[in-house]
């Protein structure tokens, strides 16, 4: 069952498409990642899903079971959350909860709970103007959760954080996953691999790769050979460019990473190559690619 389905979702700014015919389907009960490099259109997409931006064309359909204003069912953390600096952290989350439909008492209770969950207990009575970036990020997560939405949308929740904050927030998201559906954007594959189930890789406003993370990992794992030589390997590498076992090749002066179709054929061909042997091989390793390589491949070109 999908919570949100978009069809041909498009957003154009002065003639250039930031989001270009996006078809997404965000499933309930799991964590979905929107992965893409800077400028891929992630923020633009999320803004349309939350209703903050109007699509130029295309449709967004929210699950039929949840009727009415879809903002009721969504909690949102913007990429750069802006708070009322004159409020305290506690006041802000209570306010957000009340706007989300909670009574004052419920909002206060929920705020208490959430602020200790995100680790802001000690500073909840301080004015937000005095919060650090990391504290604001965590406060932003608390305000997104306060009205118990069906789906929380987090725009680059960990990008602005230091390694410890990053781990904390990812850990928190792992916990949240049990209770709510999560859609989050990131430009780091590693973050997505750590917690998400489904993944959409976007580039230039289009989905390039999508699907179940585990399946994708299996599908796109390609046998790879890492090659190191004492002498420069650059010139020689041109000689295998057109071999039919070769998929992709990338390297520096003395190192080469070769992704291949058939590992047996490739190994045979390489090890029997006289010219290569003369370059004095120091390392010959066979491994499997990760999604990272794939991500680099699709987003670099």
């Amino acid at each position: 069952m999908s919570l949100i389905i978009t069809e041909q979702l498009t957003k154009t700014f002065n003639g250039t498409s930031a989001v270009d015919g996006l078809n997404l389907s965000i499933k309930e009960g799991i964590c979905t990642a929107l992965l893409g490099p800077n400028g891929a259109g992630k923020t633009t997409t999320l803004n349309m899903l939350t209703g903050l931006m109007n699509p130029t064309s295309g449709t967004i359909t929210f699950d039929q079971r949840y009727r009415g204003d879809r903002r009721q069912f969504i909690g949102y953390l913007p990429q750069y959350p802006k708070f009322y600096g004159w409020m305290t952290g506690e006041e802000y989350v209570v306010y957000a909860g009340q706007l989300g439909g909670l009574s004052k008492i419920d909002a206060t209770k929920k705020t208490e709970e959430l602020l200790s969950l995100v680790g802001l207990d000690d500073s909840k009575k301080k004015r937000i103007a005095g919060y650090s970036g990391g504290m604001k990020q965590r406060l932003g997560i608390a305000q997104a959760l306060v009205h118990s939405p069906k789906l929380i949308i987090l725009d680059e929740p960990v990008s602005a954080l230091d390694p410890i904050g990053r781990r904390d927030v990812l850990e928190l998201m792992r916990k949240l996953k049990e209770k709510t559906s999560i859609l989050f954007s990131t430009h780091v594959l590693h973050d997505a691999e750590e917690i998400c189930d489904d993944i959409f890789i976007v580039k230039d406003g289009k989905v390039v790769i999508e699907g179940d993370l585990v399946e994708l990992q299996r599908k796109y794992q390609k046998p790879t050979i890492y090659l190191e030589t004492e002498e420069s390997i650059e010139y020689w590498s041109h000689s295998i460019k057109n071999m039919d076992w070769l998929r992709h090749m990338q390297g520096t002066k003395n190192k080469l990473t070769i992704t291949v179709n058939d590992i047996d054929v490739a190994r045979e061909a390489l090890l029997s190559n006289e010219t290569l042997r003369k370059l004095k091989i120091t390392n010959f390793e066979i491994a499997k690619t990760t999604l990272e390589d794939l991500f680099m491949e699709v987003t670099a070109g």
């Binding site: 009322y84 600096g85 004159w86 103007a129």
Partner: protein, 70 residues
């Protein structure tokens, strides 16, 4: 000399005093605000001067243009 003293006596000070008090309140509130959040538009000391030496409108000008909204 006597005349001036008479004049001074005839001035209803009870009615004028509130003006002074109000201006003092404005001055103090503006100064407190200016010092408490040092988030003024432009250098803080300039605003302190404006508040203190700007007469009646000093504090008002500070409240309108001196505070950065947060």
């Amino acid at each position: 000399m006597n005349e001036i003293l008479l004049e001074l006596e005839s001035i209803p000070w009870g009615l004028i005093a509130p003006l002074v008090i109000i201006q003092l309140i404005l001055l103090v509130v503006a100064l407190v605000d200016c010092f408490r959040h040092n988030n003024t538009n432009g250098p803080q000391w300039v605003w302190v001067l404006v508040i203190v030496f700007g007469g009646i409108i000093g504090p008002i000008v500070y409240f309108i243009f001196g505070r950065r909204n947060d």
